[in-house]
Point group: D2
Chain length 115, copies 4
Amino acid sequence: MSMMQECIEACSAAAMSATMCADADAAEGMGRCASLCTNTADVATTMMRMMMRPAGYDMGVMTSMMTACMTMGEACAAECAMHADMSEHCRICASACTAMVEACRSAMSSMQTAS
Amino acid sequence: MSMMQECIEACSAAAMSATMCADADAAEGMGRCASLCTNTADVATTMMRMMMRPAGYDMGVMTSMMTACMTMGEACAAECAMHADMSEHCRICASACTAMVEACRSAMSSMQTAS
Amino acid sequence: MSMMQECIEACSAAAMSATMCADADAAEGMGRCASLCTNTADVATTMMRMMMRPAGYDMGVMTSMMTACMTMGEACAAECAMHADMSEHCRICASACTAMVEACRSAMSSMQTAS
Amino acid sequence: MSMMQECIEACSAAAMSATMCADADAAEGMGRCASLCTNTADVATTMMRMMMRPAGYDMGVMTSMMTACMTMGEACAAECAMHADMSEHCRICASACTAMVEACRSAMSSMQTAS
């Protein structure tokens, strides 16, 4: 349960960082980074909301959405890491995405142990 | 590309049906159905938006999100199908979810053939 | 009721056009347009969802959200109209935003007559 | 700027509380409360995202969306307050909605002073 709480907070932080990174990217013509960050904001927000809805909990659904969220976070972190030296918003976003991926991994292993 | 267009439309229809089903479910005390439908609305909306953002296209991300969307649609359709006889909104939602799952399956196989 | 249905469809079309316009804008360094379009996609999606949730209908809430949606649609249409000659996605988005504003205006006057 | 930061955090807290309240409401057959809370979660999330996108800042759009967010927060707080004695999730949600309304009011007056 505290693993889930940490994961919700990590998704929230990644959604915020990615929203701000996408807005800044667009003005700099960084189209691929903006697109990946906008996707990350949506995926992280959906993931976070699903953890806050226990009434419809389904192990298979949570596992596949966690996997999608981790794949998304890894792709976004890899893109942002390429611009992290020159762009503070990319450095922050890469770090928040990596933290989300780790929090999802911990939450998934807790879920599987609990079941 | 037309496969993608059909998949976007199927996700849009499922998101709408699930939003309306969840609202009606809550008044009837159908908590598990409302929760699954609210999750489906968010997952389908995110999936649809990702298909409309080609600049950040990533094969691995799309594949894992499509898988999550199909798993979600199947779980929601199964739940709604149990109430379809007595509840028109569940019948409609089950049908829209099943159509979304099929459209995702077609879009995924097109994506994999194209790459 | 049919006014509401038309308004839902107009919001859905604007949300889709704005999502695609924002993705294309970012690659072209059109930061202000991308930002307004991303906001429009979120506002139109929220507006549309609220119309599909009759159980929590509140006249004051609907009126203020309709007003926000119209103000957003007008600002986005004005920005996109400036690039409509050279950019097809901006031309489509401006047109979808204007149609959403008109549909919201009709839905609002129906709501007020009905009450 | 710090007013905006406080407002983003208040919207985030309200979006989370309302998401959890809606999920619990549905299982208890509290349809109107679930519907208002689900709307609040969407409006607060959209409001929060708009504050994190400075590139498309428009005073008229922000003012009308802040007004919609405050009207939504007041309606949701009023509904949740009616069940606050018997339902912990409603008590928390009412409190988070009231805090969001106050934070929006402060952010709006800062915005208007700054311009």
